[in-house]
Amino acid sequence: MRQRSLTAVVLAAVLAATTGCTVERHWGGNTNTGGSGKAKVGLVTKTDTNPYFVELRNAARAAAQANGADFSALAGQFDGDNDGQVRAIENLMQQGANTILITPSSSTGVLKAIKDARDAGVLVIALDTATEPADAVDATFATDNFAAGEQQGAYVKASLKGVPPKLLMVDGTAGSTVDTQRHTGFLKGIGLTDSSPEIKGHTAANGDQSLAQQGMENLLQRSTDINAVYSMNEPMGRGAYAALNARGLTGRIVMGSIDGGCEGVQNVKNGQFAATVMQFPKKMAEQGVLAAVEYAKTGKKPAGFVNTGSAVITDKPLPGIESHDSAWGLQNCWGGTR
């Protein structure tokens, strides 16, 4: 009997620990909608550990402080944690947020919760990742991931100087919106389609550096006769680089990546990546908070897709490709020490 009740206590503690979201700050009070004065901004990120979302959260918090808005940040527990994000939205509404900024884990997974929030008069802005349909939220402030992929593809194509590509692709999570947009954007930029024979293989590595390294090792076993590598983000690019390096292939391969994290820019500077495409999470967060303040004051809501831009970072600039060097990149990168 004693053992059973102890088990129950531990089980309850575990459940509490695993179901709770990370709460940064609470505020009391009822739901305040637009035009009533003070902005109460809630941010829901995919996770609270990825440096990208850390930068986004820090920038949002700083912007909220600078503009006299209340701020609270919640997150899902892992990339793809729709349920955690739904709970975060519900918690924020309970706390009386009048604007919710969200980086949706999936473009469709949290739509019902978003609709409930909007029905209650809350301004909902998607950051970083668009919803499907796009008008499920009031507005989207994000990188155009298709365009970012296209920039990477165009750079790799230009870098090959007319030599037909022999390409290996390191994708992220199958079915994720951002991944799909970057992937198809890249193929458009380099001038290929999914069925092109120039694609010598692909692996999906879930954003995990060690899985990317394994996948690349296995692909290279099939053929080392390649000249180009697509990586969907920088950690996976580093994994792919380790596999290429072990085969002594890095000198004759053009590897592009996307993200613009400080470590990734450093990889460009060291010559591991030929180029990376930088995103600007800080802009997304700041513009989101400013929109929330505006909404609280005047009741005016933003609308539509606002592209926060992306920039090619490379130390080997090519004609026809607009780019910045790694020194500029290190000044504008996110996460980490600059």
Binding site: Q3, L6, T7, V10, L11, A13, V14, A17, T18, D48, T49, N50, P51, F53, V54, F78, A174, G201, T203, A204, G207, D208, Q209, S210, Q213, Q214, G215, E217, N218, L219, Q221, R222, S223, P235, R238, G239, A242, E263, G335, G336
Partner: protein, 325 residues
Amino acid sequence: MSTKERESLGEFLLRAPAVGPALALVVAIVVFSVATDTFFDLDNLSTVVQQSLVVGTLALGQTLVILISGIDLSNAASMVVATLIMAKLAAAGTNGFVALLAGVVLTIIVGIFIGGLATRIKLPAFIITLGTFTMLTAVSKLVAGGQAVPVTDGLLQWLGTKRYLFGGIPITYGMTLALLMYLGVWYALTKTAWGKHVYAVGNAPESARLSGIKVNRTVLSVYIVAGLTFGIAAWQALGRTPNADPNQFQLGNLDSITAVVLGGTSLFGGRGSVLGTLMGALVVAVLRSGLTQMNVDGNYQDLATGALLIAAVVVDRIARRQQQS
């Protein structure tokens, strides 16, 4: 085949649980060597072994835990915290050996914590390690502060970077260390009194207690030894990928259980071997490598691994039933 012969096959599998996974491994290697002209290559075989090192080392400790009919859901999380501590200390200028030691001490402390709860308060291992897993995952994210930590220290990378040729096959020190660890645990399990106690406790703890075995002490020692292997798995992980990242190995706990079960160790405890686990870890890596080289989509690779896992459990069940009848 007559019933009698079939029964003896079941008995044979029970006596030598590593035989099934060894057969599966050989079949997989033969199939991929025939199906592709790239798989059977000494460099590739070495790569496949290197790919299985981290999960293989996690699975070594997991085997011991499962042999005493426990389970450890927190092993990979404990390993990830250890990689972060090693990397952070090294980045702060601490001597590599001290950093390594700090990580290993941490995983051993986690082992003592789990073993202590399992023996003193008699909580089920599943619950203890589920809670530990959740806590350690949080700790790794707190320690990392949203940042992966690159590792440049020579000793921390040593298992992956240093290699020599053995009969034309590139061997890393990581592979050598894993082999020595497997041999050591195999020896301890089969040739020492401690090993006999581990099997006895897993089979029937009450009978073990009545026959004079100190059950609690055996259970605690298993979690401590397992903790040690998880610390070394962290070293292996930094050798493979010199970058400590809280988002890596999120499924490492389940991967290690997969290797153990594929290796013929019974989830009900008391039956199994570390040699089987070695085969189990290698089978998974061989499947991944071979199927990737055949250009098979990753989702189908997961499908195949899952089906093989269920097949392994079915074989275990049939063997047990034949033993009972």
